[in-house]
């Protein structure tokens, strides 16, 4: 049998338990302070910050990684995360349909809800999604994934975000070409316009159910999944109400959430934000940062055509000249929420890759992903997780293109390990 030498236990930090508890709880002051600062600006800023924090917290707790949802399906025949996302999307569809029906009640007018992610569907969607899929696998995180991993202390994700900025800047410099040759003339296909809300919901439900069953079938081809338990110090069984409360708190703050729980909470937040403002999306703001940095460096991008006619992330790009916008609050909140969640879960740590080529991969992956996100008018959040619930056909096309890109990326990455 195998005898376990505890090789790395010497590295354990000798800090006393109460002092550590205090340090961990002190981190809660950060989101509260940030919220008060945002509230000083406007209620809207504060709302976006709060939603951002909640999204970051959720993504960290569920380790909800859009990349692994697709990559692990191809590399490992694991579909647990993807199945979680599918359930989350189903909840999103129902909630979004309810919100959209309050905006456009009478479909015969031919109107479409302005802020829903109904985007031009064409070659840019396909190519953008495909590039995004390759890039995210190389970088080890999509855009929202890299944001929350930045909060968890992954240096590689900070590098990937640098690549995303460069990729978005490059796309923005070539934006007008894409606009004139493809995006401007691409149709926006909103399922309720032809099928009604009920028809569009039924069609989405059928497609999601097929995707769910298809995932199960693909997983089964690999044989049964082994069950592995993680050995940790077991606390004494609860003996009082105080203990019961501690157990409940551990469930939220210490124990990992299932991907499905995370995906459903994420959809709930998405619906809440859409009720009053717009669906979730993070790329528009990063794209704005890329352009601002370009201007600072003396190479402004100039006028980008057609942004005012688009919803979602491309519209957010035209949001304004100030640094402090809704999108800024959302993205900063996301990093902050993930940082807070990671510290409370004792999972925060500075993670520095030892191998130099990892930085090149993260930067290159980020760059390809950034270009794809700009071209495809959003990332896994904006062009996929907010678009399918918008009952827009572009969400489905983007998803298929991104999955294909992830498949190609998974083949590439085998050679790079």
């Amino acid at each position: 049998m195998y005898d376990a030498p505890v090789t790395a236990s010497a590295a354990t930090t000798p800090r006393s338990a109460p002092a550590r508890e205090g340090l961990h709880l002190a981190v809660l002051a950060l989101p509260v302070l940030a919220y008060l600062v945002a509230l000083g600006m406007s209620a809207q800023m504060a709302t976006f910050l709060a939603v951002g924090i909640a999204v970051g917290f959720t993504l960290q707790r569920a380790r909800l990684c859009f990349v692994s949802a697709f990559r692990d399906l191809f590399l490992l025949h694991q579909g647990r995360t993807l199945r979680g996302l599918i359930v989350g999307l189903a909840i999103g569809c129902i909630g979004f349909a309810m919100v959209m029906s309050t905006i456009v009640g009478d479909l015969s007018t031919g109107r479409m809800p302005n802020d829903a992610h109904i985007l031009p569907l064409g070659i840019a969607t396909v190519l953008g999604g495909f590039l995004f899929g390759i890039g995210m696998v190389l970088a080890g995180g999509c855009v929202s994934g890299s944001l929350y991993r930045m909060g968890e202390g992954y240096l590689a994700s900070w590098v990937a975000m640098g690549g995303v900025l460069i990729g978005l800047y490059t796309l923005n410099r070539t934006w007008n070409w894409w606009w004139e040759h493809s995006i401007e003339s691409s149709p926006r296909i909103w399922l309720p316009a032809t099928l009604g809300y009920t028809g569009a919901l039924v069609l989405s439900a059928v497609l999601l159910a097929l995707a769910y069953v298809g995932t199960l079938w693909w997983e089964r081809r690999q044989g049964p999944t082994p069950n592995i338990t993680i050995r940790r110090a077991q606390p004494a069984p609860p003996a009082s109400v105080g203990d019961d409360i501690r157990v409940a708190l551990r469930g939220v703050f210490r124990r990992e959430w299932s991907p499905m729980t995370g995906a459903v909470v994420l959809s709930g937040l998405n619906i809440l934000l859409f009720i009053h403002y717009r669906p979730l999306g993070v790329v528009g703001e990063i794209s704005r940062w890329a352009n601002d940095l370009g201007s600072l460096a003396g190479a402004p991008v100039g006028i980008q055509k057609g942004l005012d006619t688009l919803a979602g992330c491309a519209a957010a790009l035209a949001e304004g000249a100030s640094w402090f916008t809704d999108g800024f609050m959302l993205n900063i909140g996301l990093v902050l929420g993930s940082f807070t969640a990671a510290v409370l879960a004792r999972e925060f740590r500075l993670r520095i890759p030892h191998q130099p080529q990892r930085y090149v991969q993260s930067l290159a992956g980020g760059l390809v992903m950034g270009y794809g996100a700009g071209l495809g008018l959003g990332c896994t959040l904006g062009a996929f997780y907010s678009a399918i619930p918008s009952l827009a056909l572009n969400g489905w096309v983007y998803a298929i293109a991104m999955a294909t890109g992830a498949l190609v990326g998974s083949q590439l990455i085998r050679r790079l390990a």
Binding site: Y2, D3, A4, P5, V6, T7, A8, S9, A11, T12, T13, R63, C65, V67, S68, R71, D72, L75, L76, Q78, G140, G141, R149, Y154, L155, A156, S157, T225, P226, I228, T229, I230, R231, R232, A233, E256, R346, E347, F348, R349, R351, I352, P353, H354, Q355, R358, S362, I413, R414, A417
Partner: protein
Amino acid sequence: MTTEAETVPVLDVRGEICPYPMLRTNKELDEVHPGILALDVLTDHPPALSTIPPEAMKRGYGCEIDEIRDGEWMIRLFKDA
């Protein structure tokens, strides 16, 4: 590195993001030390806990995971000679 019974080699993949911890573990088992009887993989990337063990099990290894400190895990892979 030796493969004597009392010193199990440790593959340190801390700092690495998915899927690299799993790919590096596979490489270690398949190419660097083919047929090795025990390998410890040190990781600080929680998702690796669900990617490394199934791949190692496909190669005939048993697996145990110890949380050795906050946010760090030792994945212990072993098989009979």
